[in-house]
């Protein structure tokens, strides 16, 4: 399946959500959004709701799973956690990402020099 430009940006967000769940364990939507905001120093998420599209996509690919549970303040909240497939996928995607960003970086540096 060919992927459009928008899909690449989506892919980036999906990758970040996946990584967050990988390192933090089970989290609810708010938790994930806050974590990404903190790491990216509030730069990446225009509004927190955008992560839900990511979560649905990841759920549909079975890379994460979800379950209802109680939050820190004893509220009912939906918790997401990464699955085995998700972890495997994360490793490949991360490798890809590093390779691509490496290549892109080199290209950009060459371009600057030239």
């Amino acid at each position: 399946m060919a992927e459009g430009r928008a899909e690449i940006l989506q892919g980036t967000l999906d990758l970040m959500v996946l990584k967050t769940l990988d390192s933090m364990g089970s989290l609810h939507g708010y938790g994930i959004a806050r974590r990404i905001e903190q790491i990216s120093e509030e730069a990446l998420l225009i509004n927190q709701g955008t992560i839900y599209a990511s979560l649905v996509r990841l759920l549909q690919k079975r890379w994460i799973s979800s379950a209802w549970g109680a939050s820190e303040n004893n509220r009912k909240a939906k918790f997401y956690s990464i699955t085995k497939t998700g972890r495997r996928q994360l490793r490949t995607e991360a490798k890809n990402w590093e390779r691509i960003s490496g290549v892109v970086g080199r290209v950009l540096r060459i371009a600057e020099k030239g």
Binding site: Q48, G49, V56, S71
Partner: protein, 887 residues
């Protein structure tokens, strides 16, 4: 791709649970908002301010929910509706394509469903009795004497009943007509005399009262009768307290003891059952040659027909040894009731099933063709939509929706046609189509055929479209839709070849049946059927006990009818040949008299009134016909048919020779007759039967013990006939007021009636062949039109370079005829193999009859030329300048 499918699956589930998913998501968002707001409060914001900020940071929930719904597959339903709306609009826009496709599908589905419904009811569904597979008919059989399946004599039945152990029950059945005089008008009813175990054989319980017990069979006991549901409703208004009431038949009073359930009519259309009541002389040694019973049995559980047959063969062997004079050469034959009921019609129905299957294939091929053509013309549309950003699945779904819509419309039409067809097949069939009452629209079949149509639509509508999409849209657009995909061409052409092949086979098949039918219709029955009426009159034996009384009645009746205005001649005879009621008796000449009784030949027997030959228009070839002087007191005379004269007298002049005819051999004291004339003879039964050897005698001299109480009357009039009917009835009633008269028919109607089964299969096959021809013409037209459209640039260039219009036309025509030619060759080859299944239904022609083959071939060629002419003309009249510029 695998991921894609997983996602589709997940989305589908989302679609089914969308409401719950949507609510859950709303809840999740609410929680999220709460957490954000709490965070704000923790940072020291006022509650209200914290909430406002939370909403801003999360983003608009409505929009989020919409996105979620879309991702979860919730818009599936929306887009489905959209697709349906769009699909209907597209179909409406191309009304020509739509109506042809829907009509084609409808015809294929409808015809198949209707025919299969008949087959299901008649051939496949079990007979409506308890364990019907255990019910058998047991016949006597004398293969060397030419009687494969013959009625059983009472003494033989009695011995079988006593000795056979394969059967749980065995019962004899014999039909008879009885005069019923209890109602407003005298009426003749069909009934059956059955042995007591008959109802146990059938495994059917009465709806009311009881059936016979063994004591009812004893002669001299109280006379009892069991009514059919039909007679009970018709004559007694469904009276629940009917048992014990009386029914008067032939002047005898019978006590009604029970009523059978609706639909129970064995054997054939009977209205009541009487106990068999065999008299001692019926069972005596002299009666062993009186074959008139039908015997039915119920096999014991676990006993096969073969085992029963083996036992019966053994019993017959013993009887043959015990009574060599009467039983020599006779054995017995056990066949299942099912085989007996539908054995004859099976071949016809299966031929029709095959034909209608062909029609469905042609219909599917045609629709496939139409869809392929349409996909080709829509290449540009699809390319544009793809380049404007429509997803592949979206377009596929759109096409799928269109195909399914088309098939649904076709199936709806098919349902209507099937409903109508089943009704027509149930009400129109020949009277001998068994189990016609049970024919119902079969929804399983409708589902199957509609499913097939939908599958065709999907495969041939979707596949090419998806293939299109694989091509880069830019390429398609650049080429301006000129891409001639060779593979698809091949596919469309082979579909047309297939259609033509199937259509030709159907055409040849109907051609063969038509030719047989025409031959049969023009067969000379031996008499002139025009302006000839016939009626059957049966006298009650209680009032007219002796042959003399009976003969006197008919003598008077003939005289009275003769005086009617417009009547040319009136004859009476012991049987109406066309109704197949012929009697065959032992026949002998002086030379044959010494033979054993079982070796003596038999001949058709008619006892007739003097004017019989003149009335029927049977030509006299030598000697004289009977006169009024040939009475009981006069010398015994006979007239023989030409066939008999040729067979037994060869070159000798038969006039003046002696013959014997009777129901047992010529023994001492039997009457020999002098042959006074030779007539041409006539067909006994339907037109396909041969002219059999026959002996005629004056009915006043009939001493054969043959029952004269029932006679057929023949009235020859000068002009058109049927208005005579009421005057004939009047004359009969003037002679005997409570005399029932069976239907008065014209002999032409009778002949036509005897051809009804053939007309039935012929007209159905003819209709299928005509439809097949029409559909193939549409197919050829479609392909040739499409090819012409594709090659219009080429034709434009050719015309611009000076090719003549007739040349271009020839090119197109040649292409069309090449396709037809391929189809015809395959069709002839297929027909050579297939038409032999018709052999049984053909009359005097070979299944490979050259005329039928050639005419079908010719018809198909003409039709294909007609189908090619329009596109050919269109190609020839292309404006070269316009064509070349338009791309």
């Amino acid at each position: 791709m695998f991921d894609g499918m997983k996602m589709m699956g997940s989305r589908m589930r989302g679609w089914f649970t969308m409401r719950r998913v949507d609510e859950e998501f709303q809840q999740e968002l609410n929680e999220h908002l709460e957490m954000l707001a709490e965070e704000g409060v923790r940072r020291g914001l006022p509650r209200e301010e914290a909430r406002r900020e939370a909403r801003l940071r999360l983003g608009g929930t409505t929009q989020l929910r919409e996105t979620n719904r879309e991702l979860q597959g919730l818009p599936f339903l929306d887009t489905l509706l959209q697709d349906i709306r769009y699909g209907l609009r597209t179909l409406r826009k191309s009304a020509g394509f739509t109506s042809v496709a829907v009509l084609t599908l409808g015809l294929g589905i409808g015809a198949n469903t209707a025919i299969f419904s008949v087959i299901h009811a008649v051939l496949l569904s079990p007979l409506p009795y308890d364990h019907p597979e255990r019910i058998v008919l047991i016949w006597e059989s004398n293969p060397s004497g030419g009687f494969n399946q013959f009625a059983v004599s009472p003494p033989n039945y009695a011995d079988w009943h006593k000795e056979a152990s394969s059967f749980e029950h065995m019962a004899s059945v014999s039909r008879g007509n009885f005069n019923y005089t209890g109602g407003a008008e005298p009426e003749q009813l069909s009934g059956a005399r059955v042995a007591a175990p008959f109802f146990a054989v059938m495994g059917v319980q009465p709806a009311l009262g009881r059936t016979f017990v063994a004591e009812d069979d004893v002669v001299g006991k109280a006379q009892v009768v069991v009514l059919s549901h039909g007679l009970w409703m018709r004559r007694f208004g469904g009276d629940r307290n009917i048992t014990g009431k009386a029914l008067t038949l032939d002047g005898q009073t019978y006590a009604i003891i029970g009523v059978m359930p609706e639909g129970f009519q064995v054997p054939g259309r009977v209205e009541f059952w009487l106990p068999s009541e065999f008299m001692p002389r019926d069972l005596g040694p002299g009666a062993r040659g009186a074959h008139y019973l039908r015997v039915m049995g119920r096999l014991k559980p676990g006993v096969s027909i073969e085992q029963a047959q083996a036992e019966m063969t053994g019993i017959s062997k013993r009887l043959e040894q015990q009574y060599p004079r009467m039983q020599k050469g006779w054995t017995s034959l056990v066949i299942s009731l099912n085989e007996a009921t539908v054995g004859n019609i099976r071949a016809t129905l299966l031929v029709l099933f095959g034909a209608v299957g062909f029609l469905l294939l042609i219909a599917c091929a045609n629709v496939a063709n139409l869809l392929l053509a349409r996909a080709a013309t829509r290449q540009r549309e699809m390319a544009i939509r793809t380049s404007l950003g429509a997803g592949r699945w979206r377009i596929a779904r759109q096409l799928l929706t269109e195909s399914v819509l088309l098939s649904t419309l076709g199936s709806a039409l098919g349902l209507l046609l099937a409903e109508w067809g089943v009704h027509a097949l149930r009400t129109l069939p020949p009277s001998n189509l068994p189990r016609a009452a049970g024919i119902q629209l079969d929804l399983t079949v409708l589902g199957f055929t509609a499913g097939l149509a939908i599958a065709t639509g999907i495969v041939f509508g979707l596949a090419p479209a998806l293939q299109n999409l694989r091509n880069a849209p830019a390429e398609t657009l650049k080429e301006g839709g000129r891409t001639a995909s060779a593979g698809r061409h091949g596919m469309r052409s082979s579909l047309v070849v297939l259609e033509t092949t199937l259509a030709l086979v159907l055409l040849i098949g109907s051609g063969l049946l038509l030719k047989s039918f025409l031959r049969l219709q023009s067969v000379d029955p031996g008499y002139r059927s025009k302006n000839l009426l016939t009626a059957t009159v049966s006298l009650p034996e209680s009032k007219y006990a002796t042959d003399r009384q009976q003969a006197q009645f008919f003598d008077q009746l003939v005289e009275r009818l003769q005086s009617l205005q417009g009547v040319e001649a009136v004859g009476a005879a012991s049987s109406n040949a066309l109704e197949g009621q012929g009697y065959n008796f032992v026949f002998a000449t002086k030379e044959l008299a010494a033979l054993a009784p079982t070796e003596q030949p038999s001949a058709g027997f008619y006892s007739v009134s003097p004017d019989y030959f003149r009335t029927l228009g049977i030509p006299l070839l030598a000697g004289r016909t009977f006169t009024s002087q040939d009475t009981a007191g006069g010398p015994r005379v006979a007239i023989i048919s030409q066939a008999l004269a040729k067979q037994f007298f060869r070159d000798r002049n038969p006039i003046g020779q002696s013959v014997f005819i009777g129901n047992s051999g010529p023994e001492k004291g039997q009457i020999w007759r002098e042959i006074v004339g030779v007539v041409q003879g006539m067909k006994q039964g339907a037109p396909e039967s041969p002219i059999a050897p026959a002996v005629y005698m004056p009915y006043l001299q009939d001493e054969t013990n043959h029952d004269m109480a029932s006679m057929s009357l023949f009235v020859r009039s000068e002009v058109a006939t049927l208005d005579l009917e009421s005057s004939i009835r009047e004359r009969i009633h003037a002679l005997r007021p409570d005399q029932p008269v069976n239907v008065i028919l014209s002999m032409q109607d009778l002949i036509s009636h005897s051809l009804a089964p053939r007309r039935y299969s012929l007209s159905l096959l003819g209709i299928f062949a005509a439809l097949a021809l029409l559909l193939s013409a549409v197919g050829i037209f479609g392909v040739v039109s499409y090819i012409t459209l594709e090659r219009r640039r080429e034709f434009g260039i050719r015309l611009a370079l000076g090719a003549t219009r007739s040349h271009v036309m020839a090119v197109v025509l040649r292409h069309g005829l090449l396709l037809t030619g391929a189809g015809i060759s395959a069709g002839v080859a297929a027909a050579l193999l297939i038409t032999r299944v018709l052999a049984q239904s053909l009359f005097q022609i070979s299944p490979l009859d050259a005329t039928s083959f050639f005419l079908s071939f010719f018809l198909l060629v003409v039709i294909s030329i007609v189908a090619c002419i329009i596109p050919a003309l269109r190609a020839a009249h292309l404006d070269p300048v316009h064509t070349l510029r338009s791309d």
